[in-house]
């Protein structure tokens, strides 16, 4: 599904003393099959933007189309349409493990399936739940456990399975690796890579980790104070290091090494992704030796 936002503007607590403009004229296209990264400082409007994508926050001004559904203001989307939209746009909030509620993992994961497809049979539900659990790398045996007995990383996977269960076409995740240890982080990013599967699903991920973003995303948007200040491939965005640092944003470590080498007069067209980077460095080394 293609997502196109044009001039999207949103203010929290409008017309009160606490009014806060969270989005300001956001224009952005997320093409189908993309692994799209959204970066930006805390409070820059990233979470507000993504909640527009499945109609949790109604469009206040500007236009937004998701697939062939027009969510713009004035276009009334009925309850059924909204539910169909939410089944197709899976949304994983920050710290999704805090939303677990059921007595067993199975029930919790089945919650979304049951809500979206009440007419489906128990067998179909079982198949979908176990498929989702396997996708996130959980054993069938956890299905009968209480979600509250699992480890932090497992809880998060259960929560993500609870979103994947409706087989969404687009998966949106708000800071999915926040609070995970490095190993958990890597596993989760690998999981997202598997879900994306070379473009079979669209993945939109809000992240603070520039390395993760550089490794996985094919397009980026940089938010600042409710505006989109940069868009492009990771290579394009991270080549503007100065501007990013002015926005108090970091660049990936490969970019830093490349810059440091350039300072020593060893500048070269170093790629951003770490394995490409290593290959390039190895190539240069060998070239020197020969």
């Amino acid at each position: 599904m293609r997502i196109v936002a044009d001039g999207l503007t949103f203010t929290y607590n409008r017309k009160t003393k606490f009014a806060k403009k969270a989005l300001d004229d956001v224009t952005l296209t997320i093409r189908e099959g993309s692994f799209f990264g959204i970066i930006g400082h805390t409070g820059s409007g990233k979470s507000t933007f993504i909640q527009h994508l499945n109609g949790l926050i109604p469009v206040e001004s500007g236009t937004l189309t998701v697939g062939d559904l027009d969510l713009s203001k004035g276009k009334k989307t009925d309850k059924k349409g909204l539910r169909a939209l939410r089944a197709k746009i899976g949304m994983v909030f920050q710290y999704p493990e805090y939303q677990l509620f059921a007595t067993t993992v199975y029930e919790d994961v089945a919650f979304g399936y049951h809500n979206f497809f009440p007419e489906k049979s128990k067998e179909e539900e079982r198949a979908a739940v176990f498929a989702a659990l396997r996708t996130v790398g959980l054993d069938d045996s956890v299905a009968d456990k209480s979600p509250f007995d699992l480890s932090g990383g497992q809880k998060r996977r259960v929560a993500i399975a609870g979103v994947l269960v409706s087989d969404p076409e687009v998966l949106v995740l708000d800071e999915p690796v926040a609070g995970l240890d490095p190993a958990g982080k890597n596993e989760l990013m690998a999981l997202l890579h598997r879900i994306h599967d070379g473009g079979k699903k669209t993945v939109v991920v809000v992240s603070h980790d520039m390395d993760d973003v550089a490794e996985n995303c094919d397009a980026l948007a940089v938010f600042s104070e409710g505006r989109v200040v940069m868009t492009g491939t990771p290579e394009e965005v991270f080549s503007r290091r100065k501007e990013l640092e002015e926005l108090r944003l970091d660049v990936p470590v490969t970019r830093k090494i490349a810059d440091a080498l350039a300072e020593k007069g060893l500048g070269n067209a170093f790629p951003l992704r770490s394995d490409d980077f290593v290959r390039k460095v190895a190539q240069l080394y060998r070239g020197k030796r020969v």
Binding site: K79, R86, M91, N115, S166
Partner: protein, 273 residues
């Protein structure tokens, strides 16, 4: 949204009412409530209204915010209004409109409804102009004499301030959880009462879990700082009773006197109904 629900939320401003000593404001509210209850006729209520409007004007809180607190109890007001109309015992010479409904019944029901509205509005002026922290500070200070009979005043004040402090946090949390479950297709708006109540489980369970988690974390944090509610604790912000507070109390005294005068000399005033 949900933040509307936490009625009487603090409205930041630098008004004279905001700067008043919370103890004075609490005393003032008590006197005001007594006055509203003492008032036996509309003249008395009018005096209370003048006082209320003065307080709102001085507090520089938009009237809309104060009225919002009434919105929360509209059902209650309507309910008591209807009951008062229906159970009004008619007197000789009352004008019957239809069935049990008399003009006098309507008037007296309005009187009671106004009384509730005035109470709620008055209380919300206090909570709109006083932060929860200074409110509990004030309460603790006013209740201090009870410590003599071993009443745990400090602990009570602490519990209260933590509870008040947590209301917006939990409201925010509820909002977040509701949105997350909506994203999973949860529907809170349709179905009958039973299915709606059942739909709340996916919200209430995570909310409870998070409340316990927060309570644990707070307890640990307090332990880590060796917190013990001893009487030797000093205050970061000392309460100060100023001439402004005294003036406000005098005005409130005048309010009480005015209401009592309206009651006593009611026979001198023109009959309204």
């Amino acid at each position: 949204m949900l933040s509307d629900m936490t009625f009487g939320q603090y409205y930041p401003s630098e008004s004279p009412v905001h700067r008043m000593d919370p103890r004075a404001k609490l005393l003032l509210l008590i006197v005001y409530i007594v006055a509203v209850f003492l008032a036996k006729n509309f003249y008395g209520l009018a005096v209370c209204l003048i006082f209320l409007l003065l307080a709102i004007a001085f507090s520089r809180v938009p009237v809309r915010s104060v009225l919002k607190s009434v919105k929360g109890i509209v059902i209650l007001i309507l309910f008591t209004f209807v009951l008062n109309v229906l159970f009004y015992t008619p007197k000789e010479g009352d004008v019957v409109l239809f069935w049990r409904v008399t003009v006098q019944g309507l008037v007296s029901a309005s009187f009671f409804a106004l009384r509730i509205i005035f109470l709620v509005m008055g209380s919300s002026v206090l909570t709109l102009t006083t932060t929860p922290v200074s409110l509990t500070d004030g309460l603790e200070s006013l209740l201090a004499p009870l410590a003599l009979i071993r009443f745990p005043v400090h602990d009570l004040a602490l519990i209260m301030s933590i509870a008040l402090r947590m209301i917006p946090t939990l409201a925010e949390e509820t909002d977040r959880i509701i949105r997350a479950q909506k994203a999973r297709g949860a529907d809170f708006e349709s179905g009958n009462l039973v299915s709606r109540a059942k739909a709340l489980v996916p919200v209430l369970v995570p909310l409870l879990v998070s409340a316990f988690r927060r309570a644990n974390e707070l307890g640990d944090a307090m332990d880590a700082r060796c917190y013990a509610g001893s009487s030797k604790r000093t205050k970061y912000k000392k309460l100060k009773f100023s001439y402004r507070d005294l003036l406000a109390l005098l005005v409130t005294g005048a309010l009480l006197a005015g209401v009592i005068l309206c009651n006593v000399y009611a026979y001198l005033l023109p009959v309204l109904y």
